[in-house]
Symmetry: C2
Subunit: 322 residues, 2 copies
C-alpha cells in the first residue's frame, strides 16, 4: 500500500469546471440563465449525483434484516455534489459575498428537495476543504460541498437532538438560545457577529479554532431560513473563513451543517418538542490535530488551544483578503 501523499488533480483534469459537464453524471439542479440547456455551459452553481455515492438512490431492501445476531441495512439514500463555482476556484472565502449567498441558497433548496422523499429522514451537508496532512480528503481543488440524504437520523445528530430535548424538558428553553445569551454577554469566545448571526468558539471545542455560526433568532431548520437572511449568513461565514485563512495560512477544515431532521419525522411523539428545543448551526472544524488511540478509545478530544484564546486570535486576525 502506498502511504505517500495523494497527488493533487490539475485544473486540466478537473471534472467540475465549466465546459466539462460531460465528465460528470447529469445535473439534478443548476443555477443557470433561463433557457440555457441542462449540462451545458453558463451555470453558476451545479448539483450532480456523486460518482462515488456513499448511499445509493435505488430504494430496494431498505428494511433492516438479520445476519445471525447482526443487523444489516442496505445503504439506501442520496448523495449529491454541489459544485459551487464554474471556475477552478478552491476557496469559499475567495468568492464574493453574493456568490457565497447563492451557494447557501442552493444548500437550502437541495435540502428541501431531499425532504420530499419520505423514505429519507435526515440531510447531512458538509464540505471538506484542503488537504489534511497531504492525504486524499480533497485532491481536486474545486470548491464544492456534499449533501447526503439518509434513511435514518444518524448517531451524532440523534445524540445532539436528545441532549437539546433533555435540556428543554428541564428548563423549557432552547439550549442554543441560552448559549447565545451567555456568549453574547461574555464575549470571550465571540469571533464575529452581525444583526442576524453570531459566530463563536464553543466552550468545549473539540478542535483548535472550532467555530459555530448560529442564527440569533430561534430557528430549527436551515432549509426554512427566511429569504432575507442568506446575505447576512454569507457575509459572516465568509468573514470567519477569511479570518481563519489569515490566521492559520489556509488550514484544512470541515464545514458541517447541523439542522433538524426532515419535517415529517417531527410527527414522531419522541421529537414532538423539536421545533422549540433544537436550533440549527454551521460548524467550522479546522483539522489541525489528528485524533489517535485516545480519541478512538474514549470519544474525548484533546484540544491544545482553549476556545477563549482561539476566539481572541480569530477576532484579531485580518478580515482583508490576502
Amino acid at each position: 500500500m502506498d502511504h505517500r501523499p495523494a497527488k493533487v488533480t490539475t485544473e486540466r483534469e478537473c471534472p467540475f469546471c465549466e465546459g466539462k459537464e460531460d465528465q460528470t453524471p447529469q445535473e439534478v439542479y443548476a443555477l443557470r440563465p433561463s433557457g440555457s440547456a441542462a449540462d451545458g455551459k453558463g451555470w453558476q452553481v451545479r448539483v450532480i449525483p456523486s460518482q462515488v455515492p456513499m448511499l445509493d438512490a435505488s430504494h430496494g431492501q431498505e428494511e433492516v434484516h438479520g445476519v445471525g445476531l447482526y443487523d444489516m441495512r442496505e445503504g439506501v439514500g442520496r448523495h449529491e455534489v454541489i459544485v459551487e463555482s464554474p471556475r477552478h476556484q478552491h476557496d469559499l472565502d475567495e468568492f464574493s459575498d453574493a456568490q457565497v449567498e447563492q451557494v447557501l441558497r442552493v444548500y437550502a433548496s437541495r435540502v428541501s428537495e431531499l425532504e420530499k422523499d419520505k423514505d429519507l429522514e435526515y440531510a447531512l451537508l458538509f464540505k471538506n476543504h484542503g488537504l489534511i496532512s497531504g492525504s486524499a480528503v480533497d485532491v481536486i481543488r474545486h470548491s464544492r460541498s456534499q449533501l447526503v440524504g439518509l434513511p435514518i437520523i444518524p448517531k451524532r445528530a440523534k445524540e445532539e437532538l436528545q441532549m437539546t430535548k433533555n435540556y428543554f424538558q428541564r428548563h423549557e428553553r432552547c439550549v442554543f438560545c441560552d448559549i447565545l445569551k451567555q456568549e453574547s454577554r461574555d464575549r470571550k469566545r465571540l469571533v464575529a457577529e452581525n444583526d442576524t448571526f453570531f459566530a463563536f468558539c464553543p466552550f468545549a471545542a473539540r478542535s483548535p479554532f472550532e467555530t459555530w455560526i448560529l442564527p440569533k433568532k430561534h430557528s430549527v431548520d436551515y432549509a426554512r431560513l427566511e429569504a432575507g437572511s442568506f446575505s447576512a449568513l454569507a457575509s459572516l461565514l465568509r468573514q470567519c473563513l477569511v479570518r481563519l485563512r489569515n490566521l492559520l495560512d489556509d488550514p484544512p477544515y470541515n464545514l458541517i451543517l447541523h439542522t433538524a431532521p426532515f419535517r415529517h419525522t417531527h410527527k414522531n411523539a419522541y421529537w414532538k418538542t423539536i421545533e422549540k428545543d433544537y436550533h440549527w448551526y454551521l460548524q467550522i472544524m479546522p483539522r489541525l490535530t489528528m485524533g489517535a488511540g485516545f480519541e478512538w478509545g474514549t470519544g474525548i478530544h484533546i484540544n491544545p488551544t482553549p476556545p477563549e484564546d482561539a476566539a481572541q486570535l480569530l477576532r484579531e486576525a485580518s478580515t482583508e483578503e490576502a
Copy 2:
C-alpha cells in the same frame, strides 16, 4: 502554521532508549534485574509519567463546577508511557513472542496499579503506531504505549458497556460470547486463532482491516487475565501485526484495549451485571482512511473494504517476518 509533515526524531535524539533515562521523568515501574538501580540501565520495559500529560496527577478540584450554563472539570487523572524496549525499535511485531508477552504483562500490572487509586474509574491503554499521513502522531520511532487513568468512564466506553448490558438484559448472555460463537462457526471474518484467543474482523468494521482479539473464555477484565494466558495472547497479537505489515507494508495503526471499568465501580447498581455482560478485547485499527465531514456529522464510518475481504486477505498474508 506549518502544514508540512512532521520531522521524525532520530535515534540519537530519542529519549526512550537505554542510557537516556535522565532525559525522561523518573520511572514509576520497570522490569529490570533485581538489585539494579531505578532510572539506570538494564531494564527490559520501563514505565514513566508522560512529559505532556493529557491528565494530571494533582488531585485538586476534581468536582464538576458550573461556568454559567456549562460544566467544567479539571483534567485530573494519570498518564503514563510504557516504553516497550530498551532498544530503538519501533515495531511490536519485530519483538520476540517472549518480549511481547513481557509487554502485555506490564500492561496488566499498570492497569492494576491505577485501579488502586479510588478517584479513578477507568484505564485506557493504547498505542499509536506509525506516521499517519506524515502527521505528528508518532514522530519518535521507539515502541511504546500510553496508559491514561480517568476519573470517569469515558463516553465511548460507556456506550459499549451500555450496549452489552442491554443485550444481556434481553438475552441473559454476553454479546461478545455470542459473537465468538457465530464467528467461529462462520469463519468468514476469522483472521487467526489459538486455544485461548480468537482474532477476527468485526461485522461492521469502521476501518479497513480493523481486527479484534478476544479471549475465548468469558472474561471481563484484562488486568485479571490468568498468568498462563499471556503467552497465547502475545503470540496471536504478534501474528496479527505481522500479517498486517506483510499485507499492507507496515500501515499506521492504533491498538486499543477495551476492558471493564475499575472493579470498585462495579458496585454501582447500574453496572451490577457487568461481570456477566462485558468481555474485554484488543482492537487493532489500521489508519488507512481519513474521516472527514461525513464522519464528523454522522458518527457513521465509510469503510471501503468489507470485513470478509479484509479477513480473507489477512488470512492469506504471510506470517513470516520480512
